[in-house]
Symmetry: C2
Subunit: 217 residues, 2 copies
């Protein structure tokens, strides 16, 4: 498959690197064509690894992964271009993390979410929210954490969720550990989990953790 990964931060590079390992073709997208991180990445990986603008990446990808910060996601996707997202699976892994006086805050929070905003802004994209509840190293290697811990997916398009669940399977997440929370409005729930994740991160001092949903029966 041809993937576009938007965002050259740790999350984007980790996802892009894993997709390459899995044999996919990846364009790492950034705001400018000469982003040194993206160019270096594409040079080091060669072959199936490419660098480009958000628009070039989105145009090249059959699936687009939003790995920029939640607060700038709409800007990045606007730059990618609605015409390059239409009909495609758009995997949103971002969180709406902001800082105010050094305190982490979510924006939006409660009555809206980044996932929903993306779907509203790009109605022809098939948005699936997932992976935002774990650190990027856990995203691509769930065995870093013991146990049958879970991921969540949500979005309006059932086939898009199936396709993303298959991708998560390539990352090492069995389908039984991917809980479908329904429509994209469930993005509020998984984005609002971030403060608990941050609190646990502060307590543990490392990011190799996740939650396992336990239920009776």
């Amino acid at each position: 498959m041809r993937y576009a990964v938007l965002g050259t931060g740790e999350v984007g590079r980790t996802l892009a690197g894993r997709l390459l390992e899995l044999g996919h073709e990846v364009t790492l997208g950034s705001r400018t064509r000469d982003n040194p991180v993206a160019v270096e990445w594409a040079t080091a990986e060669a072959g199936r690894a490419h660098a480009g603008t958000f628009a070039e990446a989105a145009a090249a990808g059959e699936v687009v992964v939003n790995a920029v910060a939640g607060r700038v996601a709409l800007d990045a996707l606007e730059a990618a271009g609605a015409e390059h997202l239409a009909g495609k699976v758009l995997v949103d892994v971002s969180n709406p993390l902001a800082f105010e006086d050094g305190q982490p805050l979510l924006d939006p929070v409660g009555s809206d979410s980044v996932g929903e905003r993306i779907q509203r802004a790009f109605p022809q994209a098939r948005v699936v929210k997932t992976l935002n509840t774990v650190n990027c190293r856990v995203m691509v290697d769930p065995r870093r954490v013991p146990g049958e811990h879970h991921l969540f997916v949500c979005g309006a398009d059932a086939r898009a969720k199936e396709q993303v669940t298959a991708l998560l399977g390539e990352f090492g997440w069995p389908a039984g550990r991917v809980l479908d929370l329904g429509g994209i409005e469930a993005a509020r729930a998984v984005e609002m989990y971030l403060p608990l994740w941050l609190t646990l991160f502060g307590r543990f001092g490392d990011a190799d953790f996740n939650i396992e949903v336990r239920r009776s029966g």
Copy 2:
């Protein structure tokens, strides 16, 4: 021990009933002295079970449990009286759940929490936030859910948290499954978990579930 449980809803009655079973003396507090639910409860249980106003309950309890809805918690505690809370452990199990156009919303959310508001309004109370991340039947009987699933505690007073952790032990939660998240500001994190809980509840159709925090090492 003598406990005050404020709130005659399902949460309050479940906690009060379990405290009685454990051999404690319990006053179930409500807005009015002649609340039929509370009076019936005290009559049926007799002996160590009492009913009273919020103020009478708080005055009688060595430990006070806030089991009214988060949105009315400050009003109920105001009625209980700061003088009846001073120096006491105040266990806050509430969530800031509101409904707008039938949609569940949290209020406050993000930059404040019910737990923090209570501690600010009653600085002499030793507020511990806990139990709000599970259904009340799971609160008092964690074996309803398989696995080593977790609870959280937070609050400024370390000895109060120890005392509450001991109470959770009486309910069936081993101390190793009670994660201390630090000060009362972590109430934001555990209150913001509610939307994910509600979403999972909607998906599962029952409330017998909880999360187990899995970590490496």
